[in-house]
Amino acid sequence: MATGESQTPDYQQRKWQNLRKLLERSGPFCHPDFEPSAEILDFIMNSCKVLIVGAGGLGCELLKDLALMGFKKIHIVDMDTIELSNLNRQFLFRKNDIGLSKAKCAVEFVNKRIPGCEATAHHCAIQDLDEGFYKQFHIVVCGLDSIVARRWLNGMLMSLLQYNDDRSLDQSTVIPLVDGGTEGFKGNARVILPGMSACIECTLDLYPPQKTFPLCTIANTPRLPEHCIEYVKVIQWAKENPWGTTTGLDGDDPQHVAWVYEKAQERALKYGIANVTYRLTQGVLKNIIPAVASTNAAIAAFCATEVFKLATSCCVNMNNYMVLNMADGVYTYTFSAEKSPDCVACSNNTQVMEIQAEATLQMIYDKLCEDQLYMMKSPGITTVINGRNKTLYMSSIKSIEERTRDNLKKKITDLGLYNGADILVADVTTPNTITIKLKFIENIDVEMSR
């Protein structure tokens, strides 16, 4: 460091000259509210707290990008540890780091490389951190590969929203969320202003449906190598329990993968199916998404630019969803995803579910899993009857599942539900219990047969 500069505040150092040009000068395309000043960089460095969710392919890039964009108060959360297959893109990790916490390793590296950076690591699940934790941030940026975790985080930020007496949104409770995702040579990035623009739950239809193979195909008419692998995974493992009944199939255990691979090959041979490979076996077992450094770098940088805009107001943010395709040239497309007025997470309206009075609880359950509005994984349903909580169905705890399983077949009216009754729904996709009001509708089929 040049001696003449050791006394000057960090944000005035020559090192940050590039950023200062953007932040201390005005330009014709700036955000209308933008007032150039030295205080903006000071804010980024000393006040603005940013949370990075995920320290994987995107997270490593984001941490580096934001640290070099002047951010210092960066927190990063990830429960995972480093694996060999991460090293082709998660550039803050080395072979010696395998088995260590991703968040801790990443933070250690960046704090060392960029003096003054004060990043903090949280080696835990996002669900282990509470409202008080999330509340402290100015901006959250998310680079996850799990849709469920992304939805949970979205739900958390939405639940922090508060409304004024006139039902208008209290702007001070809005924590912007920048979200990035990649798959192979494709990716997307979006900016979410909770309560103001489309959130993750508003646009669940943008996620492609998960590819599944029908059980009868796997069992009776396999045609593809995937069918053979899926058979061993779903049926043969449970039948043979090669490592004893207490050991479940672990896609990360090379012995397990090798066993599945061998059995799948046997099955393929029996049916005359070609091309069962070890790589394919692994891919099917772990549902592996291909990933490469370059796509991650581009998407993370795109997100970092949006975080920078949010923090500095130096230009208008993108509105609000960008898709990137690097398989055929390099192509981006930006569109404005629309906020859903009925969104479970971000609308301030009472949730209403229309259902026939004759319906069974199973029908409500299926609606919660299949309706584009909810797309839940394993919803637990309770209600309040005469001031007491009553669990109608819950699959996550085995003993309760067994006790409540029969309810699924029962008519909802026999369970004490009525037109206008509230059901309380909990699921892994949201940190909060969602209250849904039932609205009975006439059964159309019955109507017609009358």
């Binding site: 460091m1 020559r14 090192k15 940050w16 590039n18 950023l19 040009k21 953007l22 005005s26 330009g27 014709p28 395309f29 990008d65 070099l68 060999l84 297959s85 082709n88 550039f91 080395r94 490389r113 960029i114 003096p115 192979g184 040579f185 195909t217 008419t221 045609r223 593809l224 090669p242 490592w243 012995q255 090798a258 066993w259 061998e262 049916y271 005359g272 070890y278 790589r279 592996i288 291909p290 990933a291 490469v292 450094a293 370059s294 770098a297 581009a298 998407i299 940088a301 795109f302 970092a304 630019t305 993108m318 690097m326 398989a327 055929d328 040239g329 390099v330 192509y331 981006t332 930006t334």
Partner: protein
């Protein structure tokens, strides 16, 4: 219980480390990458971000040519420099920190300025699979581009200023066999079934099939039978129009079995057949772009120097003109469909065997050509891949950056056409060029010290370019002002975005897979816009 101990298949440390990318470009793509040697001129933030995403996936080697000394603002925006790098050679420092990412990659640093290398040791560049350059002066760009064009080494020129960035790929000719299209057209030949397929389809008796097997008939058979039935009243005709296709659909619906109440039984394979009517009845044809490729002079006038791609094109043309009867070799891929294992595998083998047979014919033709020309051998694997992807062959014929910079040829007309629209991304292109011109003339970036004073001077540069292409000056100075505001600043996240893209394109060029940008990409981070121009 005895613990099972299956034979563990060969999984090396390397295949584990690269697993996620091997699923994209395969072992052969990885091998090509590991034989690649990428040269970077100037280890700016953009430069090192490019190399980062090339070193991580395991390129063979990198060489950095940079004569600059590390400054404070370099350290401020470049992750591959550290505080202690201050005052040292930028390329060597960056190289040291980049190589930490992947011990498998070899690296070299050269501390001479590009002009000097071009003057004293121009052969230096012959070793590279691709050269990436950033932060060069206009004159150097032109000399370097011309030289790389002459020695036929691919070149990517990139820029990052403020929120703006661009890269330009210069490559004389780039052929891609594996383009990995999102939606690969099926190649089923129902209109012109080859003998083995015709025999199989004709021998299939739909009505004789028992009910329990009725739901297991592959839709290809159903569709073929329906068309045959349709042809009874439409002789020598193939269903093309919507009306004709609907007639075929009605026939398929007649095939569907009914229950005792006359209600059609829901059978997935018949549903699939109905859905396939619109796409699978497309007649087999030779796509025009492939035809043009096969009849271009490079494919018809082979020499000893012809690349394997053109030799295979020539063999392919010969096949189409003789054994192929005007058609490309069969792709040999059967899409998944509801069917019994037996039906499906049998049909799949029919397609695969035919494809293998046709590939074999083309391979023999390739060998004949090689024997005649006395040129280097082409492996059977290569020919197989070529035939498998013959429907999607792709060729880029590039243009010279030096010509573009002199605004020669058709470049002027091309630019002015976009400026007339007006296309703001072309305005950005002009500004990036003008800023480079400014830098050559004034030895600093426009707005480096203070923005307002340089607006007039940058405007002079802009107008010079505009008058060279016979365009009128911009009505407003706002973009010129914005460029002066940037003051030559390099913003890390803008460079990181471009770095990811450029690395990606370099990998496409080295692995010869996927279609690269043809040929200029512009990015505006402020408006989050990108576009591609073809100069």
């Amino acid at each position: 219980m005895a613990s099972p101990s299956p034979k563990s298949p060969e999984q090396t440390e390397k295949t584990k480390q690269y697993d996620r990318q091997l699923r994209l470009w395969g072992d052969h793509g990885q091998m090509a990458l590991e034989h690649g040697h990428v040269c970077l001129i100037n280890a700016t933030a953009l430069g090192t971000e490019v190399l980062k995403s090339i070193v991580l996936p395991g390129v063979g080697s990198i060489t950095i040519a940079d004569d600059k000394t590390v400054s404070d603002d370099d350290i401020g925006n470049n992750f591959f420099l550290e505080s202690s790098s201050n005052g040292l050679n930028r390329g060597s420092e960056a190289l040291r920190l980049l190589l930490e990412l992947n011990p498998a990659v070899q690296g070299h640093a050269v501390q001479e300025p590009t002009d000097q290398i071009l003057r004293e040791n121009p052969d230096f560049f012959k070793a590279f699979s691709v050269v990436v350059a950033t932060a060069l002066e206009d004159k150097t760009i032109q000399n370097l581009a011309q030289h790389l064009w002459d020695i036929n080494v691919p070149f990517i020129l990139c820029r990052s200023v403020g929120f703006l960035g661009s890269f330009r790929i210069q490559i004389k000719e780039h052929a891609v066999v594996e383009t990995h299209p999102d939606n690969e057209q099926t190649d089923l030949r129902l209109d012109v079934p080859f003998p083995a397929l015709a025999e199989y389809l004709d021998g299939f008796d739909i009505d004789g099939v028992e009910l329990k097997d009725h739901g297991h008939i592959p839709w290809i058979v159903i569709l073929y039978k329906a068309v045959q039935k349709w042809q009874i009243s439409n002789t020598n005709c193939w269903p093309m129009s919507r009306k004709q296709k609907n007639e075929v659909k009605s026939i398929i619906e007649e095939f569907i079995r009914k229950d005792e109440n006359g209600i059609p039984i829901n059978e997935e394979n018949f549903e699939e057949a109905l859905r396939a009517v619109n796409t699978a009845l497309m007649p087999t044809f030779l796509p025009t772009n492939i035809q043009n490729l096969l009849y271009s002079s490079a494919a018809t006038n082979l020499t000893k120097e012809s690349s394997p791609f053109w030799i295979m094109c020539s063999a392919l043309r010969n096949f189409i003109e003789s054994e192929g009867k005007g058609k490309l070799p069969l792709r040999g891929v059967l899409p998944d469909m509801t069917a019994s294992t037996e039906h499906y595998i049998k049909l799949q083998n029919i397609y695969r065997s035919q494809a293998a047979m046709e590939t074999e014919i083309i391979y023999r033709k390739v060998q004949q050509i090689i024997a005649q020309l006395h040129c280097e051998n082409i492996s059977e694997g290569e020919v197989k891949l070529f035939c498998r992807h013959a429907h999607d062959l792709y060729l880029i014929k590039g243009s010279n950056i030096a010509t573009e910079h002199q605004l020669g040829g058709t470049v002027a007309a091309y630019i002015s056409r976009y400026l007339e629209e007006p296309d703001v991304m072309m305005v950005h292109y002009i500004l990036l060029r003008a800023a480079e011109m400014f830098r050559s003339e004034h030895c600093r970036a426009p707005g480096d010290w203070e923005p307002e004073g340089d607006i007039a001077m940058l405007k002079t540069c802009v107008n010079k370019i505009l008058s060279d292409i016979s365009c009128s000056p911009f009505p407003k100075d706002d973009h010129i002002h914005e460029m002066c505001r940037y003051g030559g600043a390099e913003i890390h996240s803008v460079s990181a975005f471009l770095g990811g893209c450029v690395a990606h394109e370099a990998i496409k060029i080295v692995t010869k897979q996927y279609k690269p940008v043809n040929n200029t990409f512009i990015y505006d981070g402020a408006s989050t816009n990108t576009t591609t121009f073809t100069f």
